[in-house]
């Protein structure tokens, strides 16, 4: 009887918690929409993509360069961090001596706990000057991609490692019994079996990258443009809000909420795409 009661309470508690977290997302979405509505009603929403520039105080609201900036920087960071993270996990799991592997994991955990503003500072005073020697001004898409890659590397590596650790031992044993080399066991058995976990880690990493504000504000240069090369500065949707919100009034302010709304849609699109990838991976 008492067990049933605890269970009922647990059930009610879980339900309450999940309703709350769901509602919070809805509330935030509603709030963003409400704050951007005055401008959305005033001008054609397509103008946010088509306007030639972002000069909100002069009535031009082109958000497309920021949209492209956010997307490019996230994709770039993934391209750098995902292979590295997976290789790191493979090294820890299959090739490194136990002690080194443990030390490595501890190091990665520390790396994941460093506040983003510290990464930003590092990018600004160390990385950007190095890039500037290759091609000025240094603060650029490339700087943002590299710093974000370092930031999301632990997320990807740690979840890939956890996923590979949970690959049933029998799979690997069976593969070894069939005469697979170590590399074949890793590449042909462990990684495919761990793929859903690896994809989850990548999604979490991408989520962190696209929402990151402080780092990109510091190292990307914040110029509103679709970059021609990785050395060009870019501005992301998040940096746009952080940079201008405290100075914005009326239409300008509403336009920044539209940036937020757009970011929400980008993240939704991201989740949808990654969910469909994961569904396919699991099916396989």
């Amino acid at each position: 009887m008492s067990l049933a009661r605890t269970e009922r309470m647990l059930y009610a508690g879980c339900r309450l918690a999940s309703i709350c977290s769901g509602l919070i997302v809805l509330f935030i979405g509603f709030f963003l929409f409400k704050e951007s509505l005055p401008l959305l009603l005033k001008i054609n929403p397509m103008r946010f993509l088509n306007d030639p520039g972002w000069h909100p105080t002069e009535g031009q609201f082109g958000l497309f360069p920021m949209f492209a900036g956010s997307l490019l920087i996230t994709v770039g960071a993934m391209i750098v961090a995902a292979p590295l993270g997976i290789i790191l996990a493979v090294f820890c799991r299959f090739f490194a001596p136990r002690k080194i592997a443990n030390a490595y994991q501890a190091l990665l955990s520390v790396l994941s706990g460093i506040p983003s503003v510290v990464f930003g500072l590092w990018g600004l005073v160390v990385l950007a000057p190095i890039i500037r020697h290759v091609q000025p001004p240094g603060v650029s898409l490339l700087a943002g991609v590299l710093v974000l890659a370092v930031m999301i590397l632990p997320t990807i590596a740690l979840s890939a490692n956890a996923a590979m650790t949970s690959v049933p031992f029998e799979y690997l044993q069976g593969a070894a019994a069939l005469g697979f080399s170590k590399w074949q066991r890793v590449w042909g058995v462990a990684i495919p079996a761990a793929r859903p976990g690896i994809v989850t880690g990548m999604i979490l990493g991408a989520g962190r990258a696209i929402g990151e504000t402080m780092v990109v504000l510091m190292v990307c240069g914040n110029v509103v443009q679709v970059p021609d090369s990785v050395f060009d500065p870019v501005r992301t949707l998040t940096a746009n809000i952080a940079l201008e919100m405290s100075y914005a009034l009326s239409d300008h302010r509403a336009a920044l909420f539209v940036s937020g709304l757009m970011l929400l849609f980008v993240v939704m699109g991201f989740v949808a795409i990654s969910e469909s990838i994961r569904a396919k991976v699991i099916e396989k």
């Binding site: 105080t57 000025p136 976990g197 510091m218 914040n222 500065p233 940079l243 100075y247």
Partner: protein, 288 residues
């Protein structure tokens, strides 16, 4: 497998969440405790607005609180636009605005407490010592894009601009007859400090910032150089005599005619005793 990965992540999230909520809880407690001890007769003044005025206002507030123990002064930044908006809606007792009021804002009461100039800064190692107004305009339009064209090193110019909405940007574009849309920037920054750091870290950059902030950081040893504007050096003397061309008032604004503590604070901020504090922050006191 996915469950394992997700659950190890979940425990991490829970840990982070716990730490976060604990710190919020503790933060809330200290706040509550302070309120509980507050004298019921204590009054509070809220100032919001310009990030240029805020450090000065905070310093003045500090001295004001020492003299009047029953008053607490709360200074929050957020840009001149917020200073105007908050004063208008009554969210702040006093708004801080680092520019002249615009025609649409003239129903507010404005009280200048000091003046600040805006000047161009470059890296200390940059051999260029002065630019004509036309050269500045062409640099910001991207028509001059290498220091060699100005007698400097053979290096592309990194043009640092401010984000939209800053009063510094408005003042700069007005003075140099630039349109915001024609500026070709390589880096866009938020506040003065970020601009100064960018120039200190990049020998080929040029930026425009508050003279107060630049002179202070240059005095602290940062490798930046303040350039004259229209051949007038940004010295305290030139600022004070009104010779320096880009000068702006640092204003306190109110919605109503100031009364009570608001009036006392504004009078205090404008009193001769505050002159040394204003100069310590490299701003220009009001002429007597």
């Amino acid at each position: 497998m996915i469950l394992v990965a997700a659950s190890s992540n979940l425990t991490n999230k829970i840990k982070q969440g716990l730490i976060l909520s604990l710190s919020i809880y503790l933060g809330g407690m200290s706040f509550a405790a302070r309120n509980a001890h507050a004298d019921p007769s204590e009054s509070q003044l809220v100032l919001t607005g310009s990030s240029t005025v805020a450090p000065l206002a905070a310093e003045i507030a500090h001295h004001f609180e020492k003299m009047h123990r029953q008053v607490r002064v709360d200074v929050q930044t957020g840009g001149s636009s917020r200073g105007i908006a908050d004063a208008r809606r009554g969210l702040a007792d006093i708004g801080m605005v680092s520019r002249h009021l615009k025609p649409a804002e003239e129903h507010l009461w404005e009280f200048p407490i000091a003046y600040d100039g805006i000047t161009l800064i470059v890296h200390k190692s940059n051999p260029v010592d002065g630019l004509s107004n036309n050269e500045v305009r062409e640099i910001y339009q991207g028509r001059i894009n290498n220091w060699k064209m100005l007698g400097g090193r053979d290096a592309p110019i990194t043009v640092v601009n401010k984000a939209a909405g800053h009063s510094t940007l408005e003042l700069f574009t007005d003075y140099f007859h630039l349109k915001q849309q024609e500026i070709r920037a390589s880096v866009i920054i938020g506040d003065n400090a970020q601009g100064i750091k960018t120039v200190a870290g990049n020998p080929d950059a040029i930026a425009y910032v508050s003279i107060g902030a630049a002179a202070y950081d240059s005095g602290q040893g940062l490798p930046i150089k303040l350039l004259p504007v229209d051949q007038v050096s940004p010295t305290l003397f030139n600022l004070q005599s009104g010779k320096f061309p880009i000068l702006r008032p640092l204003n306190l604004v109110t919605l109503e005619v100031p009364e009570g503590w608001v009036k006392k604070f504004i009078q205090f901020a404008r009193s001769p005793e505050m002159k040394s504090i204003i100069q310590e922050q490299y701003f220009v006191p009001r002429p007597d």
